[in-house]
């Protein structure tokens, strides 16, 4: 039994507006979704929070639906739901790849997209996908609803731009007229936290060839937060020289040594992943194939 824990208090959100009210009136309360992150840290004794608000019953936050020209994925959508969603498969298949690589089925049945975002680990596997997709996070509180670009969401290691009383409601994914690519490098295929994750899109649309944003590259586990490799994107968009782009990449990432890997390993693999992806999708190889 958990001797390390003192008394915990659990509140149940009956409705979304009820949840907003509780968030407002109980400072310091932590919302909980699938608890696959929260419970691990509770067990380790590293989580000091004593009051929790269970969102799991709010089925309106679990919907995956097309809304005009974007796909809306509710924060409580589980990985299992995402993997089996036809809309996700059509719109953003790289999110299915990322979701399939998370934990085993037991974790995929409980873990949620909102939880991955809320937890904000630099190794969170869906985060590079959301960064490359230029997703928008929809937040809500008693004050109303606001949207924030995913690429502005994290402000530091496990820090984000949310107000304490806000909840993540959904994520909006704009249309990506591009080839999507996702690659996770971990110790083993399943059940492994990643050493490096890369998600990238490259548009083949002739109308977008002048758009510098046609190439978008994001990495997990290379910095205190998920990052977009903006300078590398620009370098590739300008001349497509992969050797130059690899150098640029190494100058814009700051990997660290930790229990899962070393900085040198991460630098090397990041540069290799970039080259692997570019080899597959670069205009030259597109013409060849």
């Amino acid at each position: 039994m958990r001797a390390a824990l003192s008394t915990l208090k659990f509140l149940e959100a009956g409705s979304l507006s009820h949840a907003f009210k509780i968030m407002k009136t109980h400072p310091g309360i932590m919302p909980t979704a699938g608890c696959t992150d929260i419970y691990v840290s509770l067990n380790f004794g590293t989580l000091k929070v004593r009051e929790f608000l269970n969102l799991w019953g709010l089925s309106e936050l679990r919907k995956i639906q097309m809304k005009g020209d974007y796909l809306s994925i509710g924060s409580l959508a589980t990985y299992t739901q995402i993997i089996h969603s036809d809309s996700v498969k059509k719109w953003i298949p790289m999110l299915i790849q990322a979701s399939s690589s998370i934990g085993g089925m037991q974790i995929q049945n409980r873990g949620t997209l909102g939880g991955n975002i809320g937890n904000g680990s630099p190794a969170g596997d869906t985060l590079p996908v959301l960064a490359a997709a230029e997703a928008v996070v929809v937040l809500g509180s008693t004050e109303g609803i606001r949207r924030i670009s995913f690429n502005m969401f994290y402000t530091g290691y496990r820090k984000n731009a949310m107000n304490p009383e806000e909840l993540i409601l959904s994520v909006e994914i704009p249309r990506i007229k591009s080839q999507q690519w996702y690659r996770k490098v971990g110790t083993r295929a399943a059940q492994a936290i990643s050493k490096i994750v890369m998600a990238a899109v490259l548009s083949k649309d002739p109308e977008e060839q002048q758009d510098p944003r046609r190439i978008r590259i994001a990495f997990g586990s290379l910095a205190p937060t998920v990052i977009r490799a903006f300078r590398t994107e620009t370098a590739l968009a300008e001349n497509g020289n992969i050797t130059e782009a690899q150098k640029t990449l190494l100058s814009e990432i700051q990997p660290i040594d930790d229990i899962r890997s070393t900085a040198l390993y991460r630098q090397t693999v990041a540069a290799n992943l970039l080259a692997e992806w570019w080899g597959k999708v670069s205009p030259r190889s597109l013409i060849k194939s």
Binding site: M1, R2, G103, M105, R110, Q191
Partner: protein, 165 residues
């Protein structure tokens, strides 16, 4: 803090007063003495504590009993409703899909969840679908054979259902 939850465990209703921090795993083992569900890591990593919650497989060490109020739970003790073993239990025995047996209840419950999910019925599909359950003794090849056999028999019994998935 004490609270009361109502759970249907192996088709039997339980109204329980418990400490709010109790996980489903500890509730099953320590309070209800359903010790078939094992604790390997208590961190969601090993899958030995797998149960079915409303028919879906989950790690019971990562779920608070308080958050499972009104839900139905199946453990290894309740997998077969009559006196005969569940086909997965039989297959695990006949294929010797275990050595020490510690991971086995979790493996079997996980496989039971797998049978209801839209996985590809291939060797790769089974391996991927069962990847949340670790076996320290390395009985994986026989576990795979046991699950394959149950899938094969399912196909024979219900060819339409099997071809759908």
């Amino acid at each position: 803090m004490e609270l009361t939850v109502t759970l249907e465990i192996n088709e039997k209703k339980h109204v329980l007063t418990l400490d709010s921090r109790t996980t489903l795993l500890d509730l099953l083992r320590e309070e209800l003495h359903l010790t078939g569900t094992k604790k390997g890591c208590d961190h969601g990593q090993c899958g030995t504590c797998t149960i079915l919650l409303d028919g879906k497989r989950v790690n019971s060490c990562l779920i608070l009993a308080a958050s499972a109020d009104q839900k139905s739970i199946t453990t290894i003790e309740g997998l077969s409703s009559s006196n005969s073993l569940h086909p997965l239990q039989k297959a695990f025995i006949s294929h010797d899909a275990l050595q020490c047996g510690y991971c086995t209840p979790g493996q079997i419950l996980s496989a039971a969840g797998f049978l209801n999910e839209p996985w590809e019925r291939t060797t790769e599909g089974i391996k991927e679908g069962m990847s949340g359950n670790l076996c320290r003794c390395g009985a994986y090849p026989n576990i795979l054979t046991a699950v394959q056999e149950v899938l094969e028999n399912q196909k024979l019994l219900n060819p339409q259902k099997a071809s759908h998935s």
